[in-house]
Amino acid sequence: MDPITLTQMIMAAVLGALIYTIIGIAPGTDETAVLAPVTLVLVLTGVDPVVILTFFIASIVAKKLTDSVPVAVAGIPGGVMAAPMVEHALVLKKHGRSDLGIRKMASGSVIGTLISVPVSLFLANLLTQFSEVIKEYADPLFFIGAVILALMSRNRWIALASIVPLALLIQGLRHLYWGVGVVPEETNVFISFFLGITIGPVILTLFELLIKDKRDTMERHSHKEIAINKNDRVKEMPNPFKILSRQELGMSSVSSLIGSVIFIMSPVGITILLGELFTRHIKDPVKRASLAISSMDGLTNAAYISGTLIPLIALGIPLSPVAIGPANALFNAPPVFTLDHNMHHILSTTDYIWATIIGAIAALAITYFVIVKYSQQICAFVFKKIPHEAMLGLFFGLVLLLAYMDAGWINIGGVLLIGIVAGVLHRWGVNYGVQFMVLYAAPWIITKLIG
């Protein structure tokens, strides 16, 4: 590793940690929506892959550390993955202990990171020997993945029923673009469709705003009231091993381990399941809640890191909900990365280890320290200064840009169409995992349909 690359990696890690410390706090920021576009742009601008991986690891660690902060301070999740923790965090808040909540959650995250990095590297090495077999069946595996994720979701029948129509829409647009000649034949438009699915719910709502009757019947609100507790600043340097009790340390380690091993399943689902399972026997509400949030935070962190690293190192195809969502650009960002030529093929094991260690340490050092000390000030700043409209505008701008770059003006219409359909499906309970798997499986599904 030469000093120049090393310096770039450290800078990327610091940058990722700082950016996602702020973004992580903003309410409603979906992990895929905030991580995927930025990583995509970095990949497309031709940044060194090992630097991008460092940036990505720092970003997910920072994002996972901070998205629990607004949960503890205000009871609103800073991201989808933090949603299961709200209930427990509110218990602590009610007892006037949100400061405790933040320290427990952040410490749980630290444990999750520390456990998942070695476990992922180990599991990835185990899995490598099967990678040739798995790769051979990649196309049907995405389809099977879509079916499994559909069956595991709450609205399984609608999710199952939507697989073929969505595949038809995706392939239909691609064939149209080939037919009118805006993209060369056999070039699969991918990035902008991916983003269209991601911001589908927003696009659908934007279209509904154009319907007068709908607009008039929409529920109107004054302002979102957010109550935050003022608490004393922590003076000493926070140490996760002192903050967590022995039981919390043990439980968050176990849940992190489980989160790493079952990287292929939906992190949110496992979090809810294990969080309830581990804490059911505890009566004292404060103790129960602290144990729940520390082990849940450990688990989400671990699921994120292993869900990214294991498929990346062992397979090179995005076969986990995290890999196919937020980490997608590391696998597939044509023309820079394709499924036959991506980080998996470019980076060595040493690269993975360095990128992960530098990214995780930078994010833990900066973000852990900052949020344990200044959580309340950061929340107040973000809530007061960053309007939700600006966040939506930013994502919308990026989607327009990437849509135009993929296939010209016509594709802006195409992405809006995908957004409307994906938004409706999302509202009906078809989760992102299913839709992304269909996006990958679409060409295979169509060839099988026509026999």
Binding site: T45, D99, R220, D232, K384, E389, M391, G397, L398, L401
Partner: protein, 91 residues
């Protein structure tokens, strides 16, 4: 948007109930349109004025998006009302 609803002192007019919910947070339709227009213009504008040698257009576009974000943050006020409780008394 620029209606200056006494946000400095933290007071907000109670009768301004014209915000709708998108993605877990409240927005005002007018402000949302303003933000979308600003960000679209800055992003695509920067993309088109960039020198035509990849990856510069993409990079310009990204910077344009961030500029749009900054401008929107400046002209639009968040629809949140912050209440700070003193926690000490409850312990």
């Amino acid at each position: 948007m620029l209606d200056g609803q006494g946000h400095k002192s933290g007071q907000i007019q109670e009768n301004s109930a014209d915000n709708i919910e998108i993605w877990e947070d409240f927005v005002r339709i007018k402000d949302l349109v303003v933000a979308l227009v600003i960000c679209s213009i800055t992003t695509l504008g920067a993309y088109f004025i960039a020198p035509n040698e990849p990856p510069k257009p993409l990079f310009f576009g990204l910077v344009g998006a961030l500029v749009g974000f900054a401008i929107s943050s400046f002209v639009i006020h968040p629809k949140r009302k912050l209440i700070v409780n003193d926690e000490k008394g409850e312990k």
